[in-house]
Symmetry: C2
């Protein structure tokens, strides 16, 4: 039966100004993890967050992760581990978020000071970190706060893991998660991450899948040093000629991957899944607006969503070592490195995919009968993630969405990767839910990042309601 | 009949130390035209050169060229125009050289201070500008000097044109040459430029041809801004995919240009020309040493020299707008610009070649059936140059070479362009001879640039002897 949430919701509305003020304080700390000089601000942000949690009655630990790899003069900011409630009769939910932010300067083109949160007439709260990810992180704190103020019993035990390096590769976090899976996180019955976005601006969503990414370098070299094309053009086999020929053989204009053995690994569309796409709140105009053009591969929504979520794609990102500046330079580059990546999906295997790529690239190169030398390798690989949206964790979130927003959520995947998702799943063995607060127009990594006040306040209600439904949901 | 040169030669040997000292003074002035902060040194070098010329009795003008285009805060350095001798009964030879140099810092890897000329045990005179082009420019001054000291009558009237912007695009020079063709240069019977190099290290050469260069940009764009490959990979037609496919269709690994209408324009090899290559002092090992590898297209000297001198070549220089740094970035570039160029040869026409390129590129793009947009255009074009090596100007230089070096010179072309050569030919309508002083190992634009003392001193004899043979040579 549906939990009694009215008292909680009323309190969230009554505390709305306080919650906005709390976010304003958080935005005011420029916790930019990518800038060495801002490291003290990142640490300050972590301590502020820990103090807020302590003030709410949580048990808090600041976990030091040591020195930053390759920047040994810098200490990594602490991971904030916190527990609120320790009742063996309740379910325990582990939530993750991050308190660091992307770089921002007013001069980048911001309309307002990025670290002074500014609310406009439409309730848009502009400021770096507002939606990514300080708003959602404070969402959990505000949910605790409102329960206390409304004297509503908190329905679960909450474990929290808030890191300060997400925007710079989550340095050190994976080790901690694996270590604490049987330690600090041992009680967790499920995981919830609020660090992504609605597919559009109207319909809330629950996210159950992410593509992986295998990123490749293809090096081609011959001459001992760069050559002048006037002196040597026509007499030497040019690495750049070989490179563009191989890169040109990887994928066609319509995104069809030419490498045998890739598509063969992709899971077939089930009837269940096939029905999912039609109802999704997404239009081709949404895509065209995001692209800033109509140069899409497909003309219809379903094919587009499937291409983004459940099929692999291959993108050529660039060439290192060639002439890349404006103007003209008559160089024959001695060594060039093509960069491309494949977005992976169920049931592709990383090693098998790599082998298919290596074999194909070597075959294409052999066809050229070139005297140059190549080397192809994966710079990094990250597996895809796909959770079961039928798990009680998702069922609870769907009911909470219906209760707060009055609509069924879209069940979505994302084309990009959020590596920590997979880490939590693999380390804890528990279901992981992505429960976004912000919408597609928030501009997480752009200038004028914002979070709509409505998404923030209703989002706080949603996070709290989710925990109540989690407490009631039968085991699946 | 052969002119009496013994007195002149003896004097050059006797003055060798003075001539080396003169070059040391010139090298000591860091006249780097590409560096704004060095502009006063470039001007100082021009004035020093003008003073030296005046000291030798030449009439000298410093021609101001106004402000530097796109750098209006900088005055262009003066062009030094000078005349030595004004005897209507003598032939008049116009010589060109430049007194500016490439950038150089000890920290670039120089073994010695680049602006302190250092002579080693093998007589190698190390210093920036030693061979390019201060040594050859002073060669003309030293030739005058030695004639005066030896009291040998100077055999011709000498017109000199020495510029200070050669290493930065010869800004302003073309206009001056065209303007003075019927003015300061009106008397010239032929032109001689000493600003290139022997093909190897042993055999002197006379150069009668240069390839031209048409440099193309191929722009491909679609999305309004760079996209994230996770979010959009598979749903959008990627400009980089189209670009590498088109670039990959231009030329093959063995340098065969795939664009119809290019090779069809190339002049056929005549029997005369065919016989030229075998005797040239050049080996495949010379090529391998220059390449730093054995990745040559051809296995034999003749095919290699023909590919370098008399056939067109197509090189792909790079891609602007794609990810070109080390590491990994999962970007779908919104707009990419491929850069490639074609080295042109007799009898290719610039406009016709451009049309062939544009047509082919558009055809290749049409085959892709892409929604992206392309633009292909020539960034700049420079025509090939081919003089008649049978002209008296070359005949005189060949006899002088035989006299000084005791060998027949190689008659060579160069694969690269020296645009001023064509300008002098077109503006004056006179035969132009390239008469190099240095050798292939001088490293003109590299660290540890040097000029062998032997090449410098024998080169001074050669320049003087050339002028004597010019005076005797019958009209051709």
């Amino acid at each position: 039966m549906a939990p009694q949430l009215d008292g909680y919701f009323k309190q969230v509305d009554a505390s709305a100004d306080d919650f906005v003020a709390r976010l304003r304080k958080a935005v005011a700390i420029p916790s930019i993890s990518a800038e060495d000089a801002r490291r003290p601000d990142v640490v300050r942000m972590g301590k502020w967050l820990a103090d807020e949690l302590k003030g709410l009655g949580a048990d808090v630990e600041l976990r030091q992760l040591g020195k930053q790899p390759h920047k040994e003069h810098l200490d990594l900011p602490p991971v904030i581990l916190a527990r609120y409630g320790n009742d063996k009769k309740k379910r325990t939910i582990l939530v993750y978020g991050h308190y660091d932010v992307q770089p921002a300067e007013k001069s980048d083109g911001w309309a307002t000071e990025p670290f002074e949160m500014t609310v406009d007439g439409k309730g848009r709260m502009f400021g770096r970190g507002s939606t990514d990810d300080k708003g959602p992180v404070l969402g959990w704190l505000n949910a605790i706060d409102a329960h206390k103020k409304a004297k509503v019993e908190f329905p679960v035990n909450l474990l929290m893991c808030f890191e300060g390096m997400e925007e710079y590769g989550s340095e050190g976090l994976d080790d901690l998660i694996y270590k604490e899976a049987k330690g600090y996180f041992a009680d967790a019955d499920a995981v919830c991450i609020s660090d992504n976005y609605w597919l559009g601006t109207q319909r809330p969503c629950l996210t159950y899948g992410l593509r992986g990414c295998n990123y490749y370098s293809l090096e081609v070299w011959g001459p001992g040093a760069d050559l002048h094309s006037g002196v040597f053009g026509g007499t030497v086999q040019e690495p750049m000629t070989d490179l563009v020929r191989i890169l040109g053989s990887l994928v066609d204009t319509n995104g069809k991957i030419q490498i045998p053995g890739i598509m063969e690994q992709v899971a077939l569309v089930t009837q269940d899944e096939d029905g999912l796409y039609d109802g999704i709140s997404f239009t081709m105009d949404d895509l065209y607006e995001s692209l800033g053009s109509k140069t899409s591969i497909y003309e219809d929504k379903k094919a587009t969503l499937m291409a983004r979520w459940r099929y692999p794609s291959l993108s050529i990102h660039g060439v290192e070592g060639s002439f890349s500046s404006p103007g003209a330079k008559t160089v024959i580059p001695a060594k060039v490195i093509g960069k491309f990546s494949i977005r992976t999906v169920p049931d592709m295997e990383t090693d098998k995919t790599n082998e298919c790529v290596y074999k194909y690239v070597k075959e294409q190169f052999a066809k050229l009968k070139s005297k140059n030398t190549i080397k192809v390798y994966a710079q990094h690989t990250g597996n895809w993630w796909a959770a079961s949206p039928k798990h009680w964790n998702f069922a609870a979130a769907a009911k909470a969405t219906q209760r707060v927003w009055g609509v069924e959520p879209d069940f979505t995947r994302e084309g990009g990767s959020i590596p920590v998702t997979l880490t939590f799943e693999q380390a804890t063995g528990k279901n992981v839910l992505l429960l976004p607060m912000g919408s597609s127009t928030d501009g997480a990594h752009s200038i004028n990042e914002k979070l709509d006040k409505r998404n923030y306040i209703e989002g706080i209600k949603l996070l709290g309601a989710y925990l109540h439904y989690v407490a009631e949901e039968p085991q699946t």
